[in-house]
């Protein structure tokens, strides 16, 4: 017997055919919108461009910048705020001085603030596919291995930079405990460009808020007008005050350090190298610099031991690298960030390496 069924108090009752049309329209928009968006949103990187600081978590922009950089520059420099240039202006970063040494624009600054090695791995894996067949300088900031907490190998839950880039299910760090829904959301964002695009819209035009919260802050503003199609430009000034670490009142540190074979960050870094290699990139690793003057003697010894383990692995794997020598104390702004003189010195040190010069010559002749 057929039952009578009161459908609803609205007319939104679609047939199969209508649902198919809806599915086609929605799928079309989901596929094409992120593809077409760059044609509408202005993005015009200038010399010494680096990602605007406030877009450090906007992986859509990173993706776009890396794609642009790979098409315009023969080499890219990847790393955290040391590469991005926390205490220096855009034209005082490592990539700037490398270009100065090279005599032309070769190196693009792909540094992103706060990207520890596990985040770099995620960044390359999910948003850095454009980085292939390139010369890559990959920077390792040892600060991320200075303690179990920084290494993400501790068990206590805490908030860290770029949680959306670390493993979500298998080999997830114990200290990272997002809800299941959150993890699914992140996984979708990584794999479906549309969702990454929606995060980009929120980050750039809605002050990193969802639309609802944004309208509470801006109750009478038309949300569509907020989408100006203009990306913020990076400011050509240091993010943090460029003062020598000792004048900052920083005290001596007794970092415990995590040994390389036990380190989650080092394992992630190795994985990042493998990914870059698998994409046919020519990888050059820079280890450090790290401010030795800030460490206690015992800590310095532990650091040396850890660094030795890393160097041994790089040599074993045949990866070209440079353990950057210590800079003068006054060239450091904190434990790991150099000041502009430090960057200039590092560039000189790299160009003092024959293998590096040959590499640059090779790049230049391509």
């Amino acid at each position: 017997m057929k039952r009578s069924f009161t459908f609803s108090s609205n007319s939104i009752r679609l047939s199969w055919a209508s649902w198919l049309i809806v599915a086609a329209i929605v799928a079309g928009i989901i596929y094409f919108l992120p593809v077409l968006w760059p044609k509408f949103e202005h993005f015009n990187p200038q010399t010494d461009y680096r990602l605007p600081y406030e877009l450090s978590n906007d992986y859509w922009v990173f993706k776009r910048w890396s794609r642009y950089a790979c098409s315009e520059y023969p080499a890219v420099v990847i790393g955290d705020s040391v590469i991005w240039g926390q205490y220096v202006a855009m034209d005082e970063t490592l990539s700037h001085y490398l270009n100065e040494q090279a005599g032309r624009e070769i190196f693009a600054n792909l540094g992103v603030d706060g990207t520890h090695p596990a985040a770099i791995l995620g960044l390359l894996k999910y948003y850095g596919r454009a980085i292939s067949n390139k010369a890559v300088i990959l920077h390792l900031n040892p600060l991320w291995m200075s303690s179990k907490k920084h290494d993400l190998s501790g068990e206590e839950e805490f908030r860290f930079n770029h949680p959306d880039l670390v493993p979500l299910f298998i080999s997830k760090p114990d200290c990272y405990r997002p809800s299941f829904s959150r993890r699914i959301g992140i996984a979708l964002e990584r794999s479906v460009p549309f969702f990454n695009w929606t995060s980009h819209i929120k980050a750039v035009y809605f002050e990193n808020m969802d639309l609802q919260n944004w309208t509470l802050e801006n109750p009478y503003t038309n949300p569509l007008k907020a989408i100006t199609l203009e990306l913020p430009q990076p400011e050509n000034k240091p993010k943090s005050n460029p003062v020598v670490w000792s004048e900052r009142g920083m005290k001596e540190q007794d970092f415990p350090w995590v040994q390389a074979e036990e380190s989650f960050q080092w394992a992630s870094f190795k994985e990042a190298i493998k990914i870059l290699k698998s994409r046919n990139n020519d990888v050059f690793v820079t280890l450090g610099p790290f401010n030795p003057y800030i460490l206690t003697e015992e800590s310095l010894a532990r650091y040396g031991n850890m660094k030795g383990q890393m160097e041994a692995w790089l040599e074993e794997e045949g990866i070209d690298y440079k353990s950057l020598p210590d800079l003068p104390s006054e060239y450091y702004a904190d434990a790991s960030h150099p000041l502009k003189e430090g960057y200039a010195r590092i560039a000189e040190q790299l160009f003092g390496m024959e293998s590096f010069i040959n590499r640059v010559k090779g790049i230049s002749s391509e």
Binding site: R3, T6, S11, L14, Q212, P219
Partner: protein, 458 residues
């Protein structure tokens, strides 16, 4: 496990992919029961003991009722047991608080310790459903269900388990007796209902909640206009929240081959309070009508008794919603409103001379006023809100224009739906366009995080 969570999406895909091939076998009921218990136990496995106990007692009370001469005794056992269960878990804290207040009033030197009882989500809904079955069998309206598995599935059927609709045995048990037929129309209807429901919940109710929660958390800090806007916003929030849940529940059930009753029928288009209650939470108001109002005498014994019965029914309905005096006042307000308008609504003047829109707006304003007591954290807060609405002046309420436009659009849509030009809403490109916009709005702008449904606390 909320309907708009990834947990539920995965749960449903697993359940449905096994249910679909099983639907033509006798094992589909077993599977449905297992799925419903997993769904419920996901909140807290302890809840399963309570629902299993409630199911078992009602099932055997009805068997004994049928076999015994003392039918009333077994009816009482079934009903009283269910109500005691509900009372224990839902009202013991309220009762102890009030007793302690009394003791303190009489300066008694001791207090009763707070019971610290866990409140099992959904207990109000499935208890009422089980009670309705027991009473309906007693009244001879439905036959005794012989299969325990079928009866347990009826009580726990997961789409409607947490917040209704409170179904009747006469509607659901026959559906569980047949093998479910799942036609393409079932799936498309289910999807249509679900999409509208999730939009109401995620895009509208949770949006309005951001404003309402902020204002109601500290009513002292806001002016009259802001408090008024927050109260109107809450009226829409609770409607979107609860009717969204009901739509999703009906959609899921429809996809599985079951038809659940309509629970909301555009209540803010009601032209009178009686009309409002025939459109708002229909399954509950009809439950109270059938199992409380009519047994009390209904409208059969003169005006005084009719109003008394109405008052009792509305106050009990208020108490059903929550163990607090604010809910009692909310119910009483509706009762008083009903007294005052019942006769008026029957006059020719009201029926023919007053414009329909004016009636709708008046009802909406009254209902919103009553919602203040429903939403406020305490009677003191509710009094503050009412007082400040009239005395605290008018500042910029900073109510988002987008939220206002969304609410107005929905109201206009419903208005058209009940008008003579309803057929323009049936225009296929319009329906397709609306659904595309709903889905895109959800995927682009929906907030991360899952807010629980308001009615889950009842």
């Amino acid at each position: 496990m909320l309907f708009h969570s990834w947990h539920f999406a995965i749960f449903f895909i697993i359940v449905y992919s096994i249910y679909f091939p099983l639907r033509k076998t006798r094992f589909y009921l077993h599977w449905l029961l297992i799925a419903s218990y997993v769904f419920y136990g996901w909140w807290n496995p302890f809840y399963l003991l309570i629902i299993a106990y409630s199911t078992t007692v009602n099932y055997f009370a009805v068997i004994l009722m049928e076999r015994s001469q003392r039918k009333k005794l077994w009816l009482a056992v079934g009903v009283v047991n269910s109500l005691l269960l509900l009372g224990f878990f839902k009202y013991s804290v309220f009762a102890v608080d009030n007793l302690n207040a009394l003791l303190s009033m009489f300066r008694a030197p001791y207090t009763i310790p707070a019971p610290g009882i866990l409140f099992p989500v959904g207990i109000s809904f499935y208890t009422f459903q089980a009670v309705s079955y027991t009473i309906d069998v007693y009244r001879g309206k439905v036959d005794r269900e012989k299969s325990f598995v079928r009866f347990a599935t009826f009580v726990s059927l997961f789409p409607r388990l947490l917040a209704g609709p409170i179904e009747r045995a006469g509607n659901v048990l026959p559906q569980l007796t047949e093998k479910p037929r799942i036609s393409p129309e079932n799936v498309t209807d289910g999807l249509s209902l679900f999409v509208v429901g999730i939009f109401k919940k995620v895009a509208l109710a949770d949006y309005l909640a951001l404003y309402v929660d902020k204002v109601y958390a500290a009513p002292d800090l806001f002016d009259g206009l802001t408090l008024m806007m927050a109260s109107f916003a809450f009226a829409w929030q609770i409607y979107f929240d609860f009717s969204g849940y009901s739509d999703m529940a009906r959609g899921i059930a429809r996809m599985m081959g079951f038809d659940l009753m309509l629970n909301f029928n555009n209540p803010y288009l009601a032209t009178g309070l009686g009309d409002f209650w025939s459109r708002w939470h229909i399954s509950l108001s009809s439950w109270f009508r059938d199992y409380l109002y009519i047994p009390l005498g209904g409208n059969r014994k003169g005006k005084f008794n009719t109003y008394r019965n109405m008052f009792i029914t509305m106050v009990v309905s208020g108490l059903w919603h929550g163990a607090a005096w604010t809910f009692v006042i909310w119910g009483a307000l509706h009762a008083v409103g009903r007294f005052m308008t019942r006769e008026l609504e029957r006059t020719e003047f009201y029926a023919e001379k007053i414009p329909r829109l004016l009636k709708q707006i008046s009802v909406f304003i009254f209902v919103t006023f009553a919602w203040i007591f429903f939403r406020a954290s305490s009677i003191g807060d509710a009094a503050t809100i009412v007082k400040r609405i009239f005395t605290a002046g008018m500042a910029d309420p900073k109510f988002p224009v987008l939220a206002l436009l969304l609410c107005l659009s929905i109201w206009l849509y419903q208005f058209l739906f009940e008008s003579r030009i309803k057929r323009i809403l049936e225009w296929r490109p319009l329906k397709i366009g609306v659904v595309c916009l709903i889905i895109l709005y959800l995927v682009i702008f929906a907030r991360a995080g899952n807010e629980a449904f308001i009615y889950l606390q009842f």
